[in-house]
Amino acid sequence: MQSTSVSMGDGATAKLPRQPRMTLHGRQTATAYIFLAVPLLFFLGIRIAPTIYAFLMSLFKNGGPGFTLENYHDMFTSPVFWRALTNTLLYVVITVPIQLAIGICLALMIGRIKRLKGFYRTVYFLPYITSAVAISWVWRLMYDPSIGVLNIVLGWFGIPSQQFLQSPREALLSVSVVIIWQSAGFAMLIFMAGLEAIPKMYFEAARIDGASSWQVFWRVTWPLLNPTLVFLVITGVIGGLQTFTQIANLTGSSGAGLPGGPLNSTVSMVVYTYNEGFTNFNLPFASAVTVVLFVLIMIVTVVQLKVLNRSFEY
C-alpha cells in the first residue's frame, strides 16, 4: 500500500512536539473520512433520508399532488386506529410484566441450584432464537378449536373447550401467550447476567447481618438489578409496541381475512400499518400511523429513562 511509508513517518515524528502533530491530525481526519464514506452514505440513504421522507409522506395525498392533514384527520377519526392503539398498549401491558416476572423467577431458580445450570439456560432460551413465523403456525395449530391439542389438555382438567384465536374476547390474550412463550427466555438470560454481576460479598454481608432470603432479595438483589430491569423494560416495551409477525401469522390468511382479526380484536399499530399500506395501498395514510408509532416509542423511551433513573442513586 502506498500510504505505508508515509504513515510510518507520521507515527515516528508524532513523538516530537508541535508542528508534526498537525499533519498527523490531518492524516487521521483524512483516513477517518475515507473509512466513513461508504457507511455514512448508507446511513444517510437508508436511515436518515427515509425518516424525513416518512414524515413528509404522512402529509401526502394518496395519488395526488400537494400536502394535506387529511391522513391524520382520517386516522384519528377511525375506530380501527383507536382499536389498534389500545391493543398495542394492551400487548405491552400484558406481555412485558409477565415476561419479566417469569424471567426473574427462572434466573433466581437457576442461580440457586448447582447442577444443570447451563442446560436449563440453553433450553429456556431456545424459543427466542426460533423463527416467529414457524412458531406462530405451530401455536395456531395447537389453538385450533376443533383439531387443536390445547382444548384436549384443558379437557383433562375439566375445563370446557375454548375458541382461542377465533374468539374476539380471547384472541389478544392467546397472541400474548405466544409472545411471552417466545420472549421470557431473553429476560431470563439478561437477569442471569445481571445477577452474576452483583458482587457476592453483598449477599454474604446481608446473611451475616441475619437477613432472611426474602429480605436479601428485596433489599439487596432487586435494587442492584435496577440497570438490568431498566434495560429489559425499555427493550420489552419497544418490542411490544412493534408486535407484528406473531399477529400476522396467528390471525391472517385468505380464509380468515386480514391479519388482526377476528373483528380487529388483535390488530396492532404495525398490523394496521401493514393492512393500510400494503393491502389497501394507501401508503401516505400508513405513514401517518407509523409516525404515531414513532412518537409513542420516543415518549416511552424518554419517560422510562426519567422515571427509572431516579432509583439508581443510593
Binding site: 504513515s7 427515509p50 431456545l126 412458531i135 403456525w137
Partner: protein, 274 residues
C-alpha cells in the same frame, strides 16, 4: 460422607422440568404433526399412526422450499458480512481517530437508533419501486447492510483497546487499513461473533420487510415462503405440510444452537449488557 438432601434444590429442579415441558411441547407437537396424514388431525392421537412422510415429499417436489432456504442463507450471510465489516470499521474510526466532526457523526448514527424499522419500510418500499429493487436480493438486503446498534456496540468494545497497540503498529509501518484488519479486529473477536450471530439470526427470522419487498415465489425467504404457503388456504389449511415446513426451518437452527449454545447465549447476553 453424608450430606443432608437439599429439599429446596430438588423442588426447583421439579419446577424447572415442568417449565421445560411447556417450552418443548410446541416443538414436539410440530414434529409429530408433520408426520401425520391430514385426516389424522381430526382423530386426536398424540403419535402419528404411520409416520407418513408425504408432507416432506410434497415440500421437495411441489414447492420451491429449497430455493427459499437458499435465499434465506444468501441474505443472512451477505448481510452479516456487510454488517460486521462496516460496523467494526465505523466503530473503530469513532473510537480511535481524532477528527473534526467525530461527535456529529456519532450523534447522527446514534439518532438512527430511535427510528423504528416500521417507520422506514414505507419509504424503503417507495425507493425500491423507483429503483426497481423490489423482488431482488439487493432489495431484501439493503436495509440491513449497516445499522446504528452494531456501530455503537463495536465502538464500545474498540474503546477498550489500548492506543499503544495502534501506535506501535503505525511505527512498524502498517497501513491504516492493515492496522484495522490485523491489529484491531483480532482484539474484538468475541464482540464480532456476538454481533454476527445476532445479525444472522435476525435476518434468518426477518419477516416484515421481506414480506413487503418480495413479490414472486422464487425470491421468497424461508419465513415469507412458509407464511405465504400456509395462508394461501387452497382448500383448507394443509396442516401436515405447514408443520413439515416449520420443522425443516426450525430443527436445523435448534441443532446448530445446541452445538454452539455457549457462544450464542453468552454472545447475546454480552450485547445486551453493553
Amino acid at each position: 460422607m453424608k450430606r443432608p438432601a437439599d429439599v429446596g434444590a430438588i423442588l426447583i429442579h421439579i419446577v424447572l422440568w415442568l417449565g421445560i415441558v411447556i417450552v418443548a411441547a410446541p416443538f414436539v407437537w410440530m414434529v409429530l404433526s408433520s408426520f401425520k396424514s391430514l385426516p389424522e388431525f381430526y382423530s386426536f392421537d398424540f403419535l402419528p399412526k404411520n409416520w407418513d412422510t408425504s408432507a416432506y415429499s410434497y415440500i421437495f417436489q411441489q414447492t420451491s422450499y429449497l430455493r427459499w432456504y437458499g435465499n434465506s442463507f444468501i441474505v443472512g450471510v451477505v448481510v452479516t458480512v456487510s454488517e460486521l465489516f462496516f460496523c467494526s470499521l465505523v466503530g473503530y474510526t469513532l473510537a480511535k481517530f481524532n477528527f473534526r466532526g467525530r461527535g456529529a457523526v456519532f450523534l447522527l448514527i446514534l439518532s438512527t437508533l430511535m427510528v423504528p424499522t416500521e417507520l422506514l419500510v414505507i419509504p424503503w418500499y417507495v425507493m425500491s419501486t423507483d429503483f426497481h429493487w423490489t423482488d431482488t436480493f439487493w432489495g431484501i438486503m439493503f436495509p440491513g447492510m449497516i445499522d446504528g446498534f452494531g456501530v455503537f456496540l463495536m465502538r464500545q468494545f474498540m474503546m477498550g483497546i489500548p492506543d499503544d497497540l495502534i501506535d506501535a503498529a503505525r511505527i512498524d509501518g502498517m497501513s491504516e487499513f492493515g492496522i484495522y484488519v490485523r491489529v484491531i479486529l483480532p482484539q474484538v473477536k468475541s464482540a464480532l461473533s456476538a454481533l454476527g450471530i445476532l445479525t444472522f439470526l435476525g435476518n434468518w427470522n426477518a419477516y416484515l420487510w421481506p414480506v413487503i419487498v418480495i413479490s414472486t415465489e422464487a425470491m421468497r425467504t424461508l419465513p415469507v415462503g412458509i407464511a405465504m404457503f400456509s395462508s394461501s388456504d387452497n382448500g383448507g389449511l394443509q396442516w401436515n405440510i405447514i408443520m413439515a415446513m416449520s420443522t425443516l426451518a426450525v430443527i436445523p437452527i435448534v441443532v446448530v444452537y445446541f452445538i454452539f449454545q455457549r457462544r450464542i447465549v453468552e454472545g447475546i447476553a454480552l450485547t445486551g449488557i453493553k
